[in-house]
Amino acid sequence: MRQELAQLGNGAHALAIQILGNREDAADAVHDAYATVLSRPGAYDSARGAFKPWFLRVVRNRCIDLLRRRRPSGVDIDSLSHPGVAPDQRVEELQRDVAVHAALAALAPDQRQILVLRDYLDLAYAEIAAVLDIAPGTVMSRLHRARLALKQQMEQNHA
């Protein structure tokens, strides 16, 4: 389980950043989720779905909990736009990342989450519904609206 949790860390962090708008708080949320899951390893029931969406849901709920307590002043675009950059990362890739993150940061939190869950973490619609606690039938329409919003935002930023 520890191996699987370590592998999911980065994706969970990406999701938490979209909710909390802050990299440090997001890391705290993932850390807390690790503590929750490792202290109660029996809480996960494999018969009720895959581990990845289950853990992401634990992280998301922890984020919402933190959000209610801390109430951040807003999304820190810098924290979304400057992930730990490898020294050899190409300038082109950096520019691409910054453009995507800036557009993403301008969207509503719900839209950011669904985009990250589908396009960054590659979750199926049923898994997205489980993580976000929404009806499976609404995933496609929400995702489509979020994609159109992202597209529009990127066009605006580019202009």
Partner: protein, 151 residues
């Protein structure tokens, strides 16, 4: 379910374009979208744009920490545990100290009984308020839908 000819001639496929892109449509819906795309340059263009966006987002770096760092984060959980132990010890000491002070106050022959009664009343009121708030918080904590999530 939409009529195939209606989708084909009059309507754009809308959100089904995302379902099509993600391979989440039924075979029948997929064929309908295929038919529409064959005739609709606008939807073909949008599909291409969404595909590019999806790839850009998928290839970007959002998290920024590697697996090893998350493994170390898990190893740090001892800090959380020790913090919990610290709180328990602190609360236990506070209860003992306050209890001792109350006993000393009540058994002090230098303080008149009336004052003992009034001061006791004041602190009992404070204690009831504190316990009431604590109880409310405990109930909220236990019924929190975001706690101990199980799917």
């Amino acid at each position: 379910m939409h009529d195939a000819s209606r989708i084909h001639s009059n309507e754009h496929v809308g959100e089904r374009l995302s379902g099509y892109l993600d391979g989440e449509l039924t075979q029948q819906d997929c064929q309908r979208v295929d038919l529409h795309l064959a005739d609709c340059a606008e939807c073909r263009g949008l599909l291409n744009e969404l595909q590019v966006l999806r790839e850009r987002l998928g290839q970007s770096t959002i998290g920024g920490r590697n697996e090893q760092e998350w493994r170390e984060s898990m190893d740090d959980l001892g800090v959380t545990l020790s913090r919990g132990i610290g709180w328990v010890l602190l609360l236990a000491a506070a209860v003992i100290i306050v209890g001792t002070l109350v006993v000393l106050f009540l058994t002090d022959p230098g303080v008149p009984g009336g004052w003992k009664f009034l001061i006791g009343l004041f602190y009992t009121g404070l204690l009831i308020l504190f316990v009431s708030v604590l109880r409310q918080r405990w109930i909220e904590h236990k019924t929190d839908k975001y706690k101990d999530v199980e799917i």
